[in-house]
């Protein structure tokens, strides 16, 4: 988790927005969600998972360090209004982007039930923050080390069977969002997801982030990142997320060798 000083972005950020950062001159442009912002301090908060070169590099930074570029706020912000009953589902690092949306929905007068899930207890975070903005909070872990031993779709299915829900917001790994949408489709509940396609410029210039929504090609960076989950082709998204795996492995090995040399 990081707070980044970026006064301009903090001033404009809204729930649902993301930003791009580059850690150093040779670095790549990596999109991360604005999980929280403090307009007074001029900071934005982001939570990330170490999956590859850039996120590992970010993990080695200390308080007071600088990163080369921060660009944002990008993407469309969430559509917040009074829907009635809403369920917010956050999986893994997806908990972070769900938080400001849940908070805004709560402030708009909705009844908010949140479900947060992770593989195991040690990587679960922001339980208190989420509890503070939710009428009810359900926690799941895949291995049962904390909360209910389940995936997020199980309590979601139970809730939707029990009560009338007007909207579900789900953010997490593509596979989780796919199954959340399958569940909500069964109950005919409108579902918003936030997609994490691979991006470069994030201004609509390259088309690298394209996804298929409702049979049409859309750019996640400018048309999204939020979409109607029932229209998203998740299988395509998952395939496209795999697009650069061989290259990313090379990059990871490169950084490992680099670190080994230095230590």
């Amino acid at each position: 988790m990081f707070d980044i000083e970026a006064r301009g972005i903090a001033r404009k950020a809204k729930p649902g927005n993301f930003f791009i950062l580059r850690t150093h001159e040779q670095g790549e442009r990596v999109p991360l969600t604005i999980a929280d912002f403090d307009r007074e301090r001029g900071t934005i908060t982001t939570v990330f998972q170490k999956v590859g070169k850039t996120t590992h590099h970010l993990g080695t930074l200390n308080e007071g360090d600088f990163i080369t570029d921060v660009i944002g706020p990008l993407g469309n912000h969430s559509h917040i209004k009074k829907f009635g009953n809403v369920v917010c589902v956050g999986g893994g690092v997806g908990i972070a982007p769900v938080f400001p949306i849940a908070r805004a929905l709560k402030e708009a007068g909705n009844k908010v039930i949140s479900i947060i899930g992770a593989r195991t207890k040690s990587i679960l975070f922001w339980e208190e923050k989420m509890r503070n903005v939710s009428d009810d909070l359900i926690i799941t872990t895949d291995d049962g080390s904390y909360g209910t031993k389940a995936v997020v779709t199980i309590p979601l299915d139970e809730i939707l069977s029990k009560e009338k829900v007007n909207l579900v917001v789900a953010i997490g790994p593509a596979i989780m969002m796919k199954f959340v949408c399958k569940t909500t489709e069964k109950h005919r509940v409108e579902t918003i997801v936030s997609l994490n396609s691979i991006m470069i410029d994030a201004t609509g210039m390259c088309g690298g982030c394209r996804v298929q929504v409702g049979g049409e090609t859309k750019y996640t960076c400018v048309d999204g990142p939020e979409f109607n989950g029932h229209e998203v082709d998740f299988d395509l998204l998952m395939k496209r997320l795999q697009g650069y795996i061989p290259e990313e492995n090379i990059a990871m090995n490169h950084i490992r060798e680099d670190m080994a040399r230095r230590s």
């Binding site: 470069i200 410029d201 201004t203 400018v222």
Partner: protein, 476 residues
């Protein structure tokens, strides 16, 4: 006199020496080496110094071509460069990338009988000579006017406008969405055609003129135009954001892995320096067999980058014939020499999945030229039953670009046409919104570097007048 002209006409054009095709096809160094001073003088000596300079009419910014070439003849290379710079702020760029064969050189009298004077090469030479020998000449700036202007977008149009506004004494801020300034000159046109050091030098110049450069600033997101005009105290804005939205074919399989727009491919390679991966973090697909779809400069650049990344075969698939290709002639020639395989009168119909979500082939259909269409070019029509497949692992659609609505959709009071291009007055760049000017590709659609620069200059003049008189009347 007659004999002198005859003599000049028989003199051969001095070609620029270049890296041998098979060597350069595997590196990212610039293709031509540039003239030596003697070669430049030799080529300049072919110029007839025509009195009314027909070549000038072919140049969109009317560089005084006879005058600068005359100075080369006298070996006054620095003066020659300053002469060019009176009209064109970026000669090192234009000398390299202008489509001279349809502009200045198309009108050259020498071209009537033999080969036109190599105006572009000479322009490049004097600019490079200045870079190597001259100090960067920073003009004396007038007394500050106390007026503030914002330029949005740091492509050739934005850079030119910012320079002119700074020279007029205004306080100028240049906002750029990306982390490097230069627009297409940085993210689109590859190093081997336009070394990035040249663009950086031009940016250095505008910094020295006192222009404040704000990178990573996506206008429309970080600030809106209204905020700049009302809250931040800018008196005028010039929008020059290019036409950066890539077009796709809309055929099946276009979202497979391995299919990426030329914009993506070139941005990875040029802006992110992915050809130096893994020294640089951004990856790029190094295809073994690559198909590039299109026939413009963008297609040529993508094909030649793919080759330099190590492809065994690069196919350039274009639905018309070579004569209709909009790319610069010099680059078509270079591409041929380097071994790019041209598949003309051929149109892709679908991409084929290898079963794992990656492209493994492209299906194409043969075309033949039919009746001329609205543009006067003969329209290609498919030949029934002529489908065939080409095995590939990377496909790069380079089909042109459209207006990016990111900024304009935050400005409901700005008139745009049906395709999203901004409506602006040709002579001044004035738009329907008071204080807002626009020019370059976002007004005209994808055009050329020099046309964007011309628009930047006219807008700077328009802004000057507006700041003086505050008069606004927009007739589109």
């Amino acid at each position: 006199m007659e004999t002198m002209i005859e003599e000049k006409k028989t003199k051969p054009r001095v070609d620029m020496r270049e890296q041998p095709p098979l060597v350069r096809a595997r590196n990212f160094l610039e293709v031509p080496y540039g003239y030596t001073p003697d070669e430049a003088v030799e080529e300049a000596s072919r110029c007839l110094s025509c009195k009314n300079g027909p070549c000038r009419q072919g140049c969109p910014v009317e560089v005084d071509i006879p005058a600068f070439i005359a100075l080369i003849k006298e070996r006054k290379f620095l003066d020659a460069c300053y002469k060019v710079k009176e009209r064109n702020a970026l000669p090192a760029v234009c000398g390299r990338v202008c489509p001279q064969e349809v502009q200045c050189e198309a009108r050259c009298l020498m071209g009537k009988k033999g080969k036109s004077v190599a105006i572009g090469n000479l322009e490049r030479f004097v600019a490079d000579y200045e870079a190597d020998h001259g100090d960067m000449k920073i003009p004396e700036l007038p007394k500050p006017t106390g007026r503030k202007a914002a330029v949005i977008g740091s492509g050739p149009g934005g850079l030119t406008c910012a320079v002119d506004l700074a020279k007029a004494g205004h306080q100028v801020t240049l906002f750029e969405a990306l982390h490097k300034p230069g627009g297409v000159l940085i993210y689109g046109i590859p190093e081997f055609r336009l070394p990035k050091a040249i663009v950086e030098r031009e940016v250095e110049y505008i910094r020295k003129l006192g222009v404040e450069l704000v990178l990573n600033a996506v206008i429309g997101k970080l600030h809106t135009i209204d905020e700049l005009l009302d809250g931040d105290g800018y008196d005028a804005c010039f929008i020059c954001i290019g036409a950066g939205l890539p077009m796709f074919l809309g055929i099946p399989g276009e979202n497979l892995n391995g299919v990426c727009s030329a914009n993506e491919f070139l941005t990875r390679a040029n802006l992110m320096k992915a050809y130096l991966f893994p020294e640089y973090d951004t990856p790029i697909k190094r295809g073994r067999r690559v198909a590039v779809l299109g026939g413009g400069n963008v297609a040529m650049d993508a094909a030649r980058v793919a080759l330099r990344l190590g492809a065994e075969k690069v196919y350039l698939i274009y639905r018309r014939s070579e004569a209709e290709m909009p790319a610069r002639k010099a680059e078509v020639h270079h591409a041929h020499e380097e071994g790019i395989e041209f598949m003309l009168l051929t149109n892709p119909t679908r991409f084929i999945d290898d079963g794992k979500g990656n492209v493994c082939a492209v299906e194409c259909i043969k075309m033949e030229l039919g009746e001329p269409d609205e543009s006067g070019r003969r329209k290609p029509v498919p030949v029934k039953g002529s489908e065939f497949q080409v095995e590939i692992d990377v496909a790069i659609p380079a089909l042109g670009t459209r207006a990016n609505p990111l900024l304009t959709k935050t400005m409901p009071d700005l008139t745009v046409n049906r395709s999203g291009y901004i409506a602006a007055e040709e002579g001044t760049g004035m738009t329907s919104k008071k204080g807002v000017f626009a020019g370059g590709d976002i007004v005209t659609g994808s055009a050329t570097v020099i046309l964007a620069m011309g628009a930047g200059r006219r807008a700077a003049n328009g802004i000057n007048d507006y700041l003086k008189w505050k008069y606004w009347e927009f007739k589109a």
